[in-house]
């Protein structure tokens, strides 16, 4: 049996890696205990998938001397995660995988006292565009038909999303304003649940990341109508963008790894090297393509500037929704 030796070696190696510290990397600093890898959302959604993927790549290639321990802290649109990082007792061993609630939750819940500019940028893994989806049984094939249908239903057109003030609700709110649409919005607790209820025709349309809808799209169940990206997406070349429809609007979900406030420069440098390697690796580059993520590499200063503009943009968008 040709697998035998590999499996044995693999298992033996696995148990050795699990118990013994491996020789140091080039840097002076290295983690001394398991690394808290907090995920800003519940299990199964886009952020969770990415976190598990990154963890697996790190583990498989044995890139850290201590394991990453992923924990879902999705409570309160990510407020739970933000507080967890803000109050982290051991900033050097606390990381977070973010989505855009990283910007919106501190704006919407000022009482949390979270200022994301104090957080430590590690690595921007990519940005995830949004797409408008309907079920194939609706018969809708173009964005124009969709607009017509929504107007015809006069407030009874039902869309699902991940909650008021969440990424998709911002996109839906902008779209409703731009085309004068009256949509009934049902909040769910995750992108996976939203996609499932579109597949079951409990709701009529969604704004989901491609990764969440891909399985159903490939099975011919979901029809993409409009992309909220700057340019047409490679995976969906026939789908027009919001910009083509005459509105200068694009929206992406940030997929980044962020460190706790007060993380030492040495620790931050260590993690940047580790996740930089993950980013450049074949696994992640394939993932970017297969899940339709756009690369957006940035260094620390660029990330901080990007955060500042994102916070300002979201403040503007949210005030339009709430106001």
């Amino acid at each position: 049996m040709k697998l035998t030796k590999r499996v044995f070696l693999g298992l033996a190696a696995g148990s050795v890696f699990a118990t013994l510290p491996v020789a140091a990397m080039a840097d002076d600093w290295e983690p001394k205990r398991p690394i808290d890898f907090t995920i800003m959302a519940g299990p199964g959604g886009g952020a969770d998938q990415i976190a598990r993927f990154v963890q697996s790549v790190v583990e498989a290639n044995d890139m850290t001397t201590r394991p990453l321990v992923p924990t879902n802290r999705g409570g309160g649109s990510g407020a739970e995660s933000l507080l967890h990082l803000k109050d982290a007792r051991d900033a050097d061993h606390t990381l977070m995988v973010t989505l855009n609630s990283f910007y919106t939750t501190p704006i919407r819940q000022e009482a949390l006292g979270v200022d994301i500019e104090t957080f430590t940028p590690i690595t921007m893994m990519g940005v995830d565009p949004f797409v408008l989806w309907v079920h194939k049984d609706s018969g809708i094939t173009t964005f124009e038909q969709y607009v017509e249908k929504v107007k015809e239903m006069n407030g009874e057109f039902v869309m699902g999303g991940t909650g008021s003030g969440q990424e998709d609700s911002i996109v839906i709110a902008y779209m409703s304003g731009a085309f004068d649409l009256d949509i009934k919005y049902i909040p769910y607790d995750g992108g996976g649940a939203v996609a499932k209820d579109l597949a079951g025709k409990q709701i009529m349309a969604t704004v989901n990341n491609p990764a969440e809808a891909k399985g159903f799209y490939e099975a011919g169940e979901f029809v993409p109508l409009l992309a909220f990206s700057d340019e047409r997406m490679e995976a969906y070349p026939d789908v027009p963008t919001m910009k083509e429809k005459g509105h200068d609007f694009s929206y992406y979900n940030q997929r980044a790894i962020v460190g706790a406030p007060g993380m030492s420069d040495e620790a931050a440098a260590y993690y940047r090297e580790v996740f930089g390697k993950v980013y450049d690796g074949e696994e992640w580059q394939n993932y970017l393509v297969s899940e339709s993520l756009s690369p957006l590499p940035m260094d620390e200063a660029e990330t901080r500037a990007y955060w500042a503009t994102q916070v300002a943009n979201h403040r503007q968008l949210l005030s339009e929704i709430d106001g």
Binding site: M1, L3, T4, R6, V7, L9, G10, L11, A13, G14, S15, A18, P43, G44, D48, Q49, R52, F53, Q55, S56, V57, E59, A60, P67, P70, T71, N72, R73, G75, G76, A79, L83, D87, V158, G163, S164, G165, K184, Y185, I186, P187, Y188, D189, G192, A193, A195, K196, D197, A199, G200, K201, Q202, K214, G215, F216, E218, A219, E283, Y287, S290
Partner: protein
Amino acid sequence: METLSFLADGVLLSLQPINLMLIIIGVTVGLFIGAMPGLGSVNGVAILLPITFLVPPGSAIIFLAAIYYGAMYGGAISSVTLGIPGASTAVATTFDGRPLAMQGRASLALVTAAIASFVGGTVANVFFTLFAPLLATVALSFGPPEIFALMLLAFATFVGLGGDDIPKTIFSICFGLVLATVGFDTISGEPRLVLFDIDGFLRGIGFIVLAIGVYGIGEMLWTIEQTRGEITTTNPKMSVKGMVADTKEATRRGWKGTMIGSFLGFFVGVLPAAGATPGSLMSYGVAKMIAKNPKEYGTGTPDGVAAPEAANNSASTGAMLPMLTLGIPGSPTTAILLGGMVIWGLTPGPRLFVDESEFVWGLIGSFYVSNVAAVLINLAFIPLFVWMLRMPFTILAPLIFVLSIIGGFAAARSMHDIWLIVIFGIGAFFMRKFDYPLAPAVLAIVLGPIAEPTLRQSLLLSSGDPSIFFTRPIAAPIMVIAIILILLPGLKLLRGKRKEVKA
């Protein structure tokens, strides 16, 4: 026919010496992880997932399935021997498993749990093999109104049980529901009931925290008070002959619960919103409801162990279905497996059965083999677990306390949870002293977080019109049955009173 040949290939692959060895290791490790309070299949799979990247995907998935099965069997062990639920899915197992252990019949309880788990797993596997694509369609037809109706039915099975004090049962449910609302509200995204402005409550109150507090600490205090230091350890005997007799008795007195648990558990597990914990609690409720003598439940009847154990195995297998067919994890463990599948280059979703049928059937084949391995290994270890009970209670009590605290910490790694466990333990002790049933509160904290958002989503869908629950073909009958069950004890009470008046 193609299906069957793929399945046979999957079984044969699992039986190769190296894979069989992985299964034996996986089941044994899983068994002990599952038996540790607070650690369940989620932790087992998460801890060992990285190791699987070192072996080929075929062997990796077999290994994970083995851990998954081992952990599900293991959950019952501490529920029975220590009274602390080994995993959230095994909470209902304490209801009757613990009393049986106190009567010196721990081996009967453990044998029943093992056999029921095996039957539950087997039924689920057969269903899975025969009806997977069809069941995926059924799962999709469950929108918010249907899920809410199902949750109401689950509550009804607990309220509608005669015998218990109904007002106290309702109080207990309401108490659990209030605890379930602590934290964030999904619908509005606002924090609520953040008690004393303690940040820890933003996360809400975890179910496992409540369960360990109530059943671990609360049970320990109760036993100390009952025995007043006069330790009456039942001396459980263990012999091969005894186990054969136990097996016969388990089959005779547990088959009904096993059947209910196997079928109901699988069905509930298939629905992405629910999962194995509601499945096992509902099965216990239904088994008690249709039992000839419901009063036996809670005092140590094998049916009361069999129903939840069959259900949690069956539901855990069922939870694989939405993951494989829709790409939607039905439970936290399947969410981790989903992550693993992405690494192995597989896209879970409607196309998986078509594009990767060899993988899917190989996986299902390994479920069959893992299930057989799990029951055999579990039975082999039972004498060891029963032997633990021979320890004097003066040693066992601190051990339970320590395990409860460690288990509570392991779940979310937060000190906040440990204080809650202690408080819930003391609270549960007093509730028990005043004869309040605890199971309904535990049920409420599991089902509340599913029932509340689905109720509100349904009403949003209908613009506030409650008739949505009665006009949809699947929701309506479930709602009607639930309402009848809730009203039943009231009607009985009325009839009883009328008779009294006449007399």
